[in-house]
């Protein structure tokens, strides 16, 4: 009964969303305040209904109600409670529910925080947002009903995929979705502006916090996904250029470009058309990712591909939204008047350059991901596009961008002095070069390119701080004055500096982990030792254990430096009994920024075990860098000037009298 209530709430949410998708836009067209005011009410109501439905589904998982098909397929009564809760989104149906829940949550947030938006813009934004809600609610109800019943209900569930029984799953998808789906707001803003035919700097000011929030969550989501696969999949790779990874990386690249172009639009009213286009593109890439993952076109071996209607349905959503938005764009873009002028050498110019590189990088990833598919359907020829291709094409695009990053914040708006900016980066460039030399000196035989790339990362890190230091006036005015000025700098300046710093950190991590890691693949018997990167690893013994839904062989190792023991390390092979599926749990120990990574292999005939050992140099910097970037995003988000509504307070009295006579 209670499950039917959840299903019913979802149907009701669809009905409310249909109202939200039509009435406010009609109201905006007729300048009817009454009709427009339907938008926030329906937005909150949809959230309440979808949340209710989601809560019902979660309850079914918690009480192991195997009469629901999805619960039976993806849960087990013996699973820890946390995995029952996270298991809700560990499958197609439930993850779509989470997708829609976050979508309507964002809608309600716009309704709540957007009181200072012009009435027509808010009505149009919420209306467009509701179109997306309608499409995905229809998708869930027609092809992926999470409340489908089984009769008779099975006694025990089939267990959740063991790889997904992990804390990584608890946080990774929700954060990723907050990013993905968050870009639906910028999309809605862009389409609303096109419907309205009017767009200005204020628009960019309202859009930027949403874009920034979505970008920040996406950054954390991707980083966590990367770390999760690193420790869970058992051989220490952290990025594979897999189509599914690319699906999340493309919106990130486009979203990064969007953040920067919206900045130009907000400050200078330039790049309007381009910013609107990027907003549409970013969400289109999010939708494309959803399609690629769920339709099975790229991962055709997986079970979810067995239902072609889902793929066709999402493809239809994709075509309607992307096609519709671009058609609208083609019709209306010329009506958007261009704003401020700027010289090629200027802050605006630097941000345009940033967009050029990021857009090209996005296009490269997009074409690389889809090319095999397109080629096969057109000519029948099968080719593969894998990591060697992406590494080769992506690096040359990104390295010039890294060189340019510290310049951006040092350039003046409208017209800047490149030489002056370069002079302010002498210190950063010097420190970077010294680092490169030091790396070559310390790690003799190190690849020169790797040393230079680490130097580049350090240059980006130091250069990111140059803007703050110089704006505060350190070295020019007394230290106390400079410190006071430093504290008073706007948060957005700190946000930029921190995010760029994080980029440098991540680069150093990527290069170091790629170039200076070492590996040992050996067969070991208990008592034997193996040295790696100055550490001695001793294989102590193997114990057996049975826990909850799996049996495990747990191998114990001691890590020694010289003759002193510095750490214990365990790595295990598990067999999940319900699915007869084995997994490997790697043993990881962090030393400074580096990690010792140990992965237990199969038992050999002579009683030994295959043991794979890696020393991953500075590998944690990769994810720390991403987290620092996200911290920059949050810092910038806390800027008073960006806080939603702050810029519009003065407009309010002017807006009111226009709206009131209509009532």
């Amino acid at each position: 009964m209670i499950n039917e209530l959840g299903h019913y709430a979802l149907v009701l949410a669809l009905a409310v969303a249909l109202v939200q998708a039509s009435v406010p836009i009609l109201g905006a067209h007729r300048r009817d305040a009454g009709l427009m005011n339907v938008a926030p009410v329906t937005a909150v109501l949809t959230l309440v209904l979808v949340a209710l439905s989601y809560a019902v589904l979660t309850r079914a998982y918690l009480v192991s109600d195997f009469s629901l098909k999805t619960v039976w397929e993806n849960s087990h009564s013996m699973m820890p409670t946390i995995f029952k809760v996270t298991g809700v989104w560990g499958n197609h149906e439930g993850s779509m529910m989470l997708w829609v829940l976050i979508l309507v949550l964002f809608g309600a947030l716009v309704a709540g925080f957007g009181r200072n938006l012009p009435a027509t813009l808010r009505a149009n934004v919420l209306g467009v947002q509701a179109w997306v809600t309608v499409a995905f609610l229809l998708f869930i109800l027609l092809t992926s009903n999470p409340f489908a019943r089984l009769d008779p209900a099975p006694l025990e569930g089939q267990d959740l995929n063991p790889i997904l029984q992990d804390y990584g799953l608890a946080v990774h998808p929700p954060l990723l979705y907050l990013g993905y789906v968050g870009f639906s707001i910028t999309f809605a803003f862009a389409v609303a502006a096109l419907i309205d035919g009017h767009i200005d700097a204020a628009w960019a000011r309202w859009v930027r916090p949403w874009a920034l929030a979505a970008w920040t969550f996406l950054t954390i989501g991707i980083a966590l996904g990367s770390y999760w696969s690193y420790y869970e999949l058992g051989w220490g790779g952290w990025w594979f250029w897999d189509p599914v990874e690319n699906a999340s990386f493309m919106p990130w690249l486009a979203g990064t470009a969007l953040l920067h172009s919206a900045l130009v639009m907000e400050k200078r009213e330039a790049l309007k058309i381009w910013t609107v286009l990027l907003a549409i593109l970013t969400f289109s890439l999010s939708l494309l990712g959803t399609f690629l993952v769920r339709s099975g076109v790229l991962t055709s071996v997986h079970a979810f591909a067995t239902d072609p209607t889902r793929g066709v349905f999402i493809l239809a959503i994709l075509v309607i939204f992307i096609g519709g938005a671009f058609a609208l764009f083609a019709l209306r873009a010329s009506a958007l008047r261009q704003g401020g002028l700027f010289a090629p050498i200027s802050r605006e110019g630097a941000l345009v350059l940033n967009n050029l590189f990021l857009t090209t990088a996005t296009a490269t990833v997009l074409v690389g991901t889809l090319y095999p598919l397109a080629l096969e359907s057109l000519t029948g020829a099968k080719i593969s596009v894998g990591p060697p291709f992406f590494n080769l094409t992506f690096a040359p695009l990104i390295i010039p961008l890294f060189l340019a990053v510290p310049f951006g914040p040092l350039m003046a708006w409208k017209r800047a002095d490149l030489l002056a900016a370069a002079q302010r980066l002498y210190l950063a460039a010097g420190i970077g070069l010294l680092t490169a030399l030091a790396v070559m000196f310390v790690a003799t035989g190190a690849p020169v390119l790797a040393a230079l790339a680490i130097g580049l990362g350090v240059y980006v890190m130091v250069g990111a701080m140059a803007d703050l230091v110089q704006r505060a006036g350190f070295g020019r005015v007394p230290a106390a004055t400079a410190a006071r000025r430093f504290v008073g700098l706007p948060r957005s300046a700190f946000g930029t500096a921190v995010a760029h710093f994080g980029l440098g950190v991540a680069l150093v991590g990527i290069v170091a982990a790629t170039a200076f890691s070492s590996e040992a693949i050996v067969t070991m018997k208990p008592g034997e030792t193996q040295t790696i990167a100055g550490y001695t690893v001793r294989f102590d013994d193997v114990t057996q254990a049975t826990r909850g839904t799996y049996d495990a062989d747990i191998a114990h190792f001691s890590v020694m430096r010289g003759s002193t023991k510095v750490a214990d390390l365990t790595s295990s092979k598990r067999l999940y009994t319900t699915r007869r599926q084995p997994t490997t749990e790697a043993g990881i120990k962090t030393f400074g920024f580096s990690q010792l990574y140990l992965s237990l292999g199969d038992a050999q005939d002579d009683g030994g075990r295959v043991v794979r050992l890696w020393w991953k140099s500075w590998v944690t910097l990769i994810w720390l860098g991403a987290l620092v970037m996200a911290a920059g995003g949050f810092t910038s988000l806390s800027d008073r000037r960006l806080r939603i509504g702050a810029p519009t307070r003065r407009r309010k009295p002017a807006g009111r009298p226009v709206a009131e006579p209509a009532e």
Binding site: E73, G90, N91, H92, S95, L98, N161, I163, L169, P173, L176, I222, G225, W228, S229, L233, G234, W235, G237, F240, D242, P243, V244, A247, S248, G289, V293, R294, V301, H302, A303, F304, L341, P344, L353, T359, T360, A363, T364, V367, G368, Y371, L375, T379, A381, K382, I383, S384, V385, G386, P388, F389, T393, I521, V522, T523, Q581, P582, T584, V610
Partner: protein
């Protein structure tokens, strides 16, 4: 297959069988470290045909194991990296290459980054130049000049009055 799980797919997936990726066994490795290093480099370029976007260096599928042995055998016989790769392509087709060759059917793939970049850069230059040359954006027309003069005069009048 590994990473398919990792980003979003995990959400969509009811996986039948995922075995952890554990590749090269100690028994497979060549005694000569230089040859072994070359074998690893070649392996990273070759796709495990029965896996999801995995190289044979990363996969523990039987086919990947056989291919790793094959690569090492050919290397031991003194073949160059190129010869080994050519041999494997002749047996398994171009699908086995993770980095496709540059040829007629992959022109668009390889050209995309350069073409997009150049088009973008070209558009930027054109745009900047048009802006620069656009006289309308720089100078005032007669009407505007009169209006401006009027404004300035009125202001002077205000100041003096």
């Amino acid at each position: 297959m590994r990473r398919v799980l990792a980003v979003i797919a995990l959400i969509a997936v009811v996986f039948a069988a995922v075995t952890p990726a554990l590749a090269v066994d100690p028994g497979e490795m060549l005694a000569n470290p230089r040859l072994e290093e070359r074998a690893r480099a070649i392996s990273a370029q070759l796709r495990c045909l029965v896996c999801q976007n995995e190289s044979i260096d990363e996969s523990n599928a039987d086919l990947a194991h056989d291919l790793r042995l094959l690569v090492r055998r050919r290397l031991k016989e003194g073949e160059t990296n190129r010869q080994v790769i050519d041999y494997i392509v002749s047996r398994y087709g171009e699908f086995v290459l993770l980095k496709p060759r540059f040829e007629a059917k992959t022109v668009f793939l390889w050209a995309t980054p350069m073409v997009v970049f150049l088009c973008g850069a070209g558009a930027m230059v054109l745009f900047a130049r048009r802006r620069h040359d656009d006289p309308g954006a720089q100078r005032l027309n007669a009407e505007e000049r009169v209006a401006l003069e009027n404004l300035l005069e009125r202001r002077e009048g205000d100041v003096s009055g």
